[in-house]
Amino acid sequence: MTSTTVKAPRATAERARSAARATDRTRASRGRRGPSDNRIGWGFAAPFTVLFAVFLVWPLLHGFYLSFTGQSLTGQGGELIGVANYAEAFADGDMWRSMLNTLWFTVLSTIPLVVVALVLAILVNTGLPGQWLWRLSFFLPYLLASTVVSLFWIQLYSPTLGPINNVLGTLGLPQPAWLQDPDTAMIAVVATTVWWTVGFNFLLYLAALQNIPDQQYEAASLDGAGRWRSLLSITIPQLGPTTGLIVILQVLASLKVFDQIYQMTTGGPAGSTRSAVQYIFDTGFTGYRFGYSSAISYIFFAVIVVISIAQFSITARNRKGAQK
């Protein structure tokens, strides 16, 4: 928005400066008006660009190349083998299973991570005293390293020593083996994830809630709307864009799950919780099949790109619809 008003004086200053220097510049004599800050611009950009090229762009390209080779950790099998890795991956039941586990985890975790965050934020935002205490309680787990979270929850889920089964036993309810049972392991991991990371979305919602103008609530209450009414017809719609962004980012974050699952179940029992990232890790660093692991990385990357594009276009369409 500032571009038109702001750029004009800068461009003039810029031209004046390069004109002053033109005498000792060979290229300036050509009289072509090109970008004027080449040297200083690249000077500022260089440190980032070098790191970006070496540690991001190069690995990305090299990984793509590796995915067409039979490369192993020992250095053998570096020759090109065409699409054999991709063919193998598409026929690999374990690969599909890890992808499906990942999608299932994403569905199971995203819903509570959005809904619980919203409920917490609305409750905290009603203006209760002790704001810092509520924020602290719900946000604190987010600051813990995954390993700390896993150590805590392995203990809590312990079938015999854990307080969860202790309570269930006292109430006369069944006591599942949680992480050791394929039927409950995924749910247990999801519950831990919600406890761990909901505080982040909670803070985002809280910030968004505080940006809703008071006047809207005042007007509503003058019209005789109660709290429920205001909540449903002001708060929730006003949070729409925030919810859209939180959902997008939560889905992307959940798809990349690895740490807590690997630490709590190593993907077990019987592969029931192994995620796509763990399958990349397992084939690469346990099986030492770098080529095959790279192929799976690229399949996973493609899934992420497709889901991101789908999400962004849905959000964009909703926004356009809302403006009508």
């Binding site: 970006f52 719900f138 813990l144 390993t147 150590l151 910030a207 996973f300």
Partner: protein, 303 residues
């Protein structure tokens, strides 16, 4: 936790927006029946959220015998003891891991913030050949999950002889395209007239950047630093892959090895977890305002 994806929120320039919002919503009774229900639900949830901490804390103060006894109780039969902490600290690894985490996270934060601020300034203010191309590549790369790069990066670390070194931990984590985006958006909002005035007085680009723009950007630089630091401190997958040497492990990776090394020692596991959790909790208690502000202003990052 992985590379943040970011979209700046509207209140980048209005950091005082949440003032004066402590009280109840205008026009509504402070303590109606809804408020009572809210308080009850909130208290229950807060207790639920704090219980895992408290249980782990209680276990860490039990003797190993009590920690393995059935049924488990909050207060152990043999009373509370510091044995588990003594045991963990005697192994001597935790202080080393703590240092490694602190050192690598600080270096990563410094590199990311410095390089991102420089390139963001170039994107925002300077006009150089290839700028558009570089900018598009940077923004597009936000979508790349770092997890898909682990194999080629490890391969690269072997080639650079950086496996089991601090640089091996640090360098692959020292790029954050999302932070470049956040900083560029912020610089775009700083009125250019401030710089023009200084430049008329003869100050060069570099001087303008350091004496005018950076001081104005202190809050956003603080927010970005906190983000990058927490991300680096808690990163597990990459340090786990690139280090093997027990003296080079970071705290999260070190903890992962603890269970197998100590066998099933519940109290010691919990004591180690509590010790590892403490530094960031202390950081949070000191910088609570800045962290919360940072998350609500740099918006959608982290995870």
């Amino acid at each position: 936790m992985t590379a943040p994806a970011i979209a700046p929120t509207s209140d980048l320039r209005a950091p005082t927006a949440d003032r004066g919002r402590r009280g109840h919503k205008p026009g509504q009774k402070p303590f109606g029946p809804m408020a009572v229900v809210s308080v009850v639900i909130l208290v229950v949830l807060a207790v639920l959220w704090l219980l895992p901490f408290l249980w782990s804390l209680a276990t860490s103060f039990k003797s190993e015998t009590d920690a393995a006894a059935t049924p488990q109780t909050w207060i152990p039969a043999g009373g509370f003891t510091l044995d588990a902490y003594r045991g963990v600290l005697e192994q001597g690894n935790i202080p080393v891991w703590l240092f490694n985490s602190l050192f690598t996270s600080i270096v990563i934060t410094v590199i990311v913030v410095a390089t991102s601020a420089l390139v963001a300034y170039a994107f925002s203010r300077l006009d150089f050949r290839g700028k558009k191309w570089l900018y598009v590549a940077t923004i597009a790369s936000i979508i790349i999950p770092p997890q898909v790069l682990i194999v080629p990066l490890f391969y690269q670390m072997l080639a650079f002889d950086m496996v089991d070194t601090y640089w091996g931990i640090i360098l692959p984590q020292a790029i954050a395209p999302a932070m470049v985006f956040v900083l560029k958006k912020f610089f775009d909002q700083v009125p250019i007239e401030l710089e023009d005035a200084a430049r008329v007085d003869g100050a060069g680009r570099i001087r303008v950047f350091f004496t005018i723009l950076l001081p104005l950007s202190r809050p956003i630089l603080g927010a970005v630093s906190i983000f990058v630091f927490i991300g680096a401190w808690n990163n597990f997958l990459w340090p786990f892959i690139v280090t093997n040497d027990a003296s080079l492990l970071t705290l999260p990776v070190g903890l992962q090895t603890i269970e197998s090394a100590y066998g099933i020692q519940y109290a010691q596991n919990m004591a180690a977890a509590v010790l590892a959790a403490l530094p960031l909790i202390l950081v949070f208690l000191f910088f609570q305002r800045q962290i919360i502000k940072g998350i609500s202003t740099t918006g959608f990052g982290g995870q």
